[in-house]
């Protein structure tokens, strides 16, 4: 099983990452600025509705501007409008859920829309490391209970600035078990497939949906 970590700006401590058996790393840089290293790296962009002050129009602009520069684009939405747009738009790969997400927006209907559009769900479990409060866990439980029964792909992430809070992906999966998410729901193979697909699309090997150029005749 590939171990994976997301949310780094650069690879500071490769020995630690080797100890944690991490092979795939998501970096917050564009695809042309990915460093060469022993690890497999991919470029990731997170569009946060509150930090980036997103509105539907500005979100569409940012997506069209950045789609060809990043392998994976994730949207962190708080309102229903932005969440619905992100779920529908083909340029968005994943939606980020955190303790500030509410069940008013992220409910069963939204889960069906995500499933129809084949989106990934990034679940931030950094709040479970250290002291845990019931008030922090409750939003996760309510959202996941409302989405129960719908087959979705969850990717566990640990957005933390402290290196001591880095955990192997298996550790994040064991934490997700507390939320009734099994390891089969949280496998990272769908993420890996999505990265490969997006790279093919960006390089022009998939010009249209359903068509892939394997060999070019000279």
């Amino acid at each position: 099983m590939r171990q994976f970590i997301s949310g780094l700006n650069e690879i500071n401590n490769p020995d630690l990452l080797k100890f944690l058996n991490i092979k795939l790393i998501g970096l917050h840089t564009s695809s042309d600025q990915l460093p060469e290293s022993d690890f497999e790296t991919y470029s990731e962009l997170i569009l946060d509705e509150k930090q980036d002050k997103l509105k539907p129009g500005s979100l569409k602009q940012k997506l069209s501007k950045n789609r060809l520069k990043y392998d994976i684009i994730v949207v962190r939405a708080f309102t229903a409008k932005i969440a619905a747009l992100a779920a529908r738009d083909g340029r968005v790969d994943a939606i980020l859920l955190s303790d500030r997400s509410t069940v008013k927006v992220f409910n069963r209907r939204f889960a069906r829309r995500l499933q129809e559009n084949n989106k990934l769900i990034y679940l931030d479990v950094s709040n479970f490391i250290g002291s845990i409060r019931a008030s922090t866990i409750r939003p996760y439980l309510r959202i996941l209970q409302s989405m129960e029964g719908i087959p979705l792909h969850f990717i566990l992430v640990n957005y933390t600035l402290n290196e001591l809070d880095f955990r192997p992906y298996r550790g994040l999966q064991s934490i997700a078990r507390l939320l009734n998410l099994s390891p089969s729901n949280t496998d990272i193979q769908p993420l890996y497939d999505r990265i490969q697909l997006n790279r093919k699309k960006i390089s022009g090997k998939i010009p249209f949906v359903g068509i892939e150029i394997i060999e070019e005749e000279d």
């Binding site: 020995d15 490391i129 550790g171």
Partner: protein, 114 residues
Amino acid sequence: MVVRNERKRYILLSFYGDLPDLATLNKKIRKKVSELKGEIFLADSGLYLFKHKDHFVIRCNHISRFTVEAAIYSVKLSSHVKILRISGTIKGLGKEFESAIDPSDSEDFVQFEE
């Protein structure tokens, strides 16, 4: 006739950085299990921690194994921790290493149970 309804699981840990103190680690993991599932679950889990050479081993029952695993990864320490292997027997843990792990032979064996 005594009937055992639970099976034991031995969890082998590995650390990156300074090795933590046995008592501190034990206290933190027990506190985390209690925080996650409560004191009664902790009492029922049969949790205890012992040390062999450079490795720490946690014993628990099969029912509490996943919770103990989550507790290990969610506790904050001054170094990184990783689960190397989980086995139903202590001997099963030692297959990765040259010497089999047998706590009764070790001078470092400390049975720590509250």
